[in-house]
C-alpha cells in the first residue's frame, strides 16, 4: 500500500468526490452544439433532454437507492397531463404549469411511496408495475378529462417569460428543456453528494444493515421516491408544454420500460448514466426507425444484451473501467 500519498484530510477527500471533472464541462458545452450543427433536429434534441431528465429521476431511486421501478412513467404521465390540464383550465403560463405538473406528480409519488418503501426485489418490481398500469388505465378511462386514447386536446402554452414563443423549429423548446435538465442535474448532483445521498447509497449497498446503524430506511426511501416523482413530473410537464399535447403514451408501460433500459444502458448510479443512455436510445430510435420503423426495438434488444453482458455497470461504467486501466499503465 502506498504510504507516501499526499496528506489529505478526510473532509477534503469527501469534497473531492464531487468536484467538477473537465469532461463534464465538455459534456455540457456539447449540449449546445445542436443549435449550430443540427438546427433541423432541435425537436429531437428537446425530446432527448426531456427523456434524460426522466432517466435522471429514475437514477436517483434505482441507481442510488437501489429501489427498482417498472412503473416510473406514472409520474411522468401525471406531470404531462397535469401541465396540459393546467394550461386548459387555469392558464397557459409555462412555469406555473411546470410547477403544477411536478407538484401533483410529487403528491402521487408521496402517497405511493408508503407502499414502495416496504418492499424490494420482485415484489417491488410488481408493485411499481401495478401502479404504472393503474395510472395508465385511469388516464385511458377518464376520457372526458384526458381525452383517453385520442390524447389531450387544446393545450395552449403561452410564450416563455411572455416573450419566447414555442416555435415550429424547436429553438425555444430545446432551450427550455435543456435549461430544465441542467437545473435538475445540479439539484440531483447536490442530493447525491449530501448526507442524504450517502444514506441512499447505504440502502443500495446493504438494505439490512441500515436499521442496525439506526437509520429509518423507509423514511429515506419515501423521501427519495417523492423527489424522483417530482422530477419525473417536471419532465412530463415539459414534454406536454413543448409539444402542446399529451398522449397516453406518456403514461404507458412502454415508457417505464424504455427509461429503465436507457438507465441500464448508460450506467445506473452515475449522474451521467441516464443522460448518456437517453441520448443513445433516442438517437438510435431516430436512426433505426428510419431504416425499419416496425423493427427498431430489435437493435435496442441487441444493444441491451451486449451492454449488460460485457459492461454490467453500463456504457459509462465500462468506459470508466477502461479509463482507469489505461491510467494505471
Amino acid at each position: 500500500m502506498a504510504t507516501s500519498t499526499q496528506p489529505v484530510t478526510p473532509q477534503l477527500w469527501l469534497r473531492q468526490q464531487c468536484r467538477w471533472h473537465p469532461l463534464e464541462i465538455v459534456f455540457w458545452l456539447s449540449t449546445l452544439l445542436p443549435f449550430f450543427l443540427f438546427p433541423n433536429y432541435l425537436s429531437l434534441a428537446s425530446q432527448i433532454a426531456i427523456t434524460a431528465m426522466f432517466a435522471l429521476s429514475l437514477d436517483l431511486i434505482l441507481g442510488y437507492a437501489g429501489v427498482v421501478s417498472l412503473g416510473h412513467a406514472a409520474f411522468f404521465g401525471i406531470g404531462a397531463y397535469g401541465a396540459g390540464l393546467f394550461s386548459i383550465h387555469v392558464w397557459g403560463e409555462p412555469f406555473t404549469g411546470l410547477l403544477f405538473g411536478g407538484l401533483i406528480a410529487g403528491i402521487a409519488g408521496y402517497i405511493t411511496s408508503f407502499i414502495v418503501a416496504r418492499f424490494r426485489h420482485l415484489t417491488l418490481i410488481m408493485i411499481t408495475l401495478g401502479i404504472g398500469l393503474m395510472a395508465h388505465e385511469i388516464a385511458n378511462k377518464a376520457h372526458s378529462l384526458t381525452g383517453g386514447s385520442d390524447g389531450l386536446q387544446g393545450v395552449k402554452i403561452q410564450p416563455l417569460f411572455g416573450v419566447f414563443k414555442f416555435d415550429l423549429y424547436g429553438y425555444v423548446a430545446y432551450s427550455y428543456s435543456l435549461a430544465a435538465l441542467f437545473i435538475a442535474f445540479l439539484a440531483v448532483r447536490r442530493i447525491v453528494n449530501s448526507p442524504f445521498g450517502l444514506a441512499l447509497r447505504g440502502i443500495r449497498e446493504n438494505w439490512t444493515r441500515m436499521p442496525a446503524i439506526g437509520a429509518d430506511r423507509p423514511a429515506h426511501i419515501r423521501k427519495a421516491y417523492t423527489i424522483a416523482a417530482v422530477l419525473a413530473g417536471f419532465a412530463g410537464a415539459i414534454l406536454t408544454q413543448t409539444t402542446q399535447s399529451a398522449a397516453l403514451e406518456s403514461i404507458s408501460f412502454g415508457r417505464s420500460a424504455d427509461v429503465l433500459v436507457m438507465l441500464v444502458l448508460g450506467g445506473a448510479g452515475r449522474l451521467y448514466g441516464g443522460l448518456i443512455g437517453a441520448t443513445i436510445f433516442m438517437v438510435a430510435r431516430d436512426q433505426f426507425s428510419g431504416i425499419a420503423p416496425q423493427y427498431w426495438y430489435f437493435w435496442i434488444g441487441v444493444l441491451l444484451i451486449v451492454v449488460v453482458m460485457f459492461m454490467p455497470n453500463g456504457i459509462l461504467g465500462g468506459l470508466s473501467y477502461i479509463y482507469a486501466r489505461w491510467r494505471r499503465k
Binding site: 447536490r190 442530493i191 449530501s194 436499521p211 442496525a212 446503524i213 437509520a215 429515506h220
Partner: protein, 250 residues
C-alpha cells in the same frame, strides 16, 4: 442501579422448534458477558430478539429501564443498543470513512439533509476518522469495503456499531472467520473499548472467553443452561459435558 439490558421470559418458536425458551438475562452496566453454547443453541437468535430483528412470541426486553419489546430495530439503536453481525453485513461499495460517516449521520439526525455537502460536516467526519483510527483502520479508510482484507472488514463491523455511540453492544462472533493468530487483534480492539460500555459477546474460542468475559451465559437448545463467573462455569460438570468436554475431545 438500573440494569443496562434485561430480558424477561423471552420465548420464540419457529414452527415447532423452540429457539428461545424462557430467557431471563440481566446485563448490569459496564459488564463484559460472554454468550456461549453449541451450534444451533439460539445465540444469534437471542441477539436478533434483543435488537428487534425478530419479534418474540412472549416476554419483555428493557434497555436502561425502558421497555423496548415492540420498538423497531432502528429505534433501539437510537436508544443505545447496537450489534455486529457474525457474517459481514457491511456496505461493499462504500469505503470505511463513508460507512462510518453514514452511521454517525444517522445518529446525529443529519442524514435526511439533502442540500449540504457531506464533506461539510467537519466534526462528524473527524469523529468517523477517530473511530477508524482507534480500530487501526485509519490508513485504509479510503479503500472500498469490498476490497478490504477480511480481518479489517471484521474491525469495520465493530467501527460501524461504535459509530452509533452505543450503551450496550452485542458482538456476534466478532472474530468469526479470522485466522486464530489474527483474532487476538480483534479482541484487543474489543478489550480497548470504553469501560462504561456494556458488552455481550458470542464467541467459540474458550481461551478468548475466559480471558475477556467477567461472566458467562451458556445457552443450550434455546434455554439458559448455566450462568456464572468463568471460574464457576469452567468447573460446571454439565457445561463440561455438553460444551467444553466435546471441544476437548474434538
Amino acid at each position: 442501579m438500573t440494569a443496562a439490558l434485561t430480558t424477561a421470559g423471552l420465548n420464540k418458536k419457529f414452527g415447532s422448534l423452540v429457539v428461545a425458551n424462557n430467557i431471563n438475562i440481566t446485563l448490569p452496566q459496564g459488564v463484559r458477558y460472554a454468550l456461549i453454547g453449541p451450534n444451533g443453541a439460539g445465540k444469534t437468535t437471542l441477539i436478533n430478539l434483543m435488537t428487534g430483528m425478530l419479534a418474540p412470541d412472549q416476554g419483555e426486553i428493557t434497555l436502561g429501564g425502558e421497555t423496548i419489546t415492540t420498538l423497531p430495530p432502528q429505534q433501539r439503536v437510537q436508544r443505545g443498543l447496537a450489534r455486529t453481525f457474525q457474517i459481514n453485513t457491511l456496505f461493499p461499495g462504500l469505503n470505511a470513512l463513508e460507512a462510518v460517516t453514514l452511521a454517525i449521520n444517522e445518529r446525529e439526525k443529519v442524514s435526511g439533509q439533502f442540500w449540504k455537502n457531506v464533506g461539510g460536516y467537519s466534526a462528524i467526519i473527524d469523529e468517523a476518522h477517530a473511530i477508524l483510527k482507534r480500530l487501526r483502520l485509519g490508513d485504509a479508510c479510503y479503500q472500498q469495503t469490498r476490497e478490504m482484507p477480511y480481518g479489517r472488514q471484521r474491525l469495520l463491523e465493530i467501527a460501524l456499531a461504535l459509530a452509533t455511540r452505543p450503551k450496550v453492544l452485542l458482538l456476534d462472533e466478532p472474530a468469526a472467520g479470522v485466522p486464530q493468530e489474527e483474532s487476538g487483534e480483534v479482541f484487543e480492539a474489543v478489550a480497548g473499548l470504553s469501560s462504561d460500555l456494556t458488552l455481550l459477546f458470542i464467541e467459540h474460542d474458550m481461551h478468548v472467553v475466559f480471558r475477556f468475559a467477567s461472566h458467562i451465559i451458556v445457552l443450550v437448545g434455546g434455554a439458559i443452561f448455566a450462568e456464572g463467573p468463568p471460574s464457576e462455569i469452567s468447573q460446571h460438570p454439565g457445561v463440561r459435558e455438553v460444551y467444553l468436554g466435546k471441544r476437548k475431545h474434538g
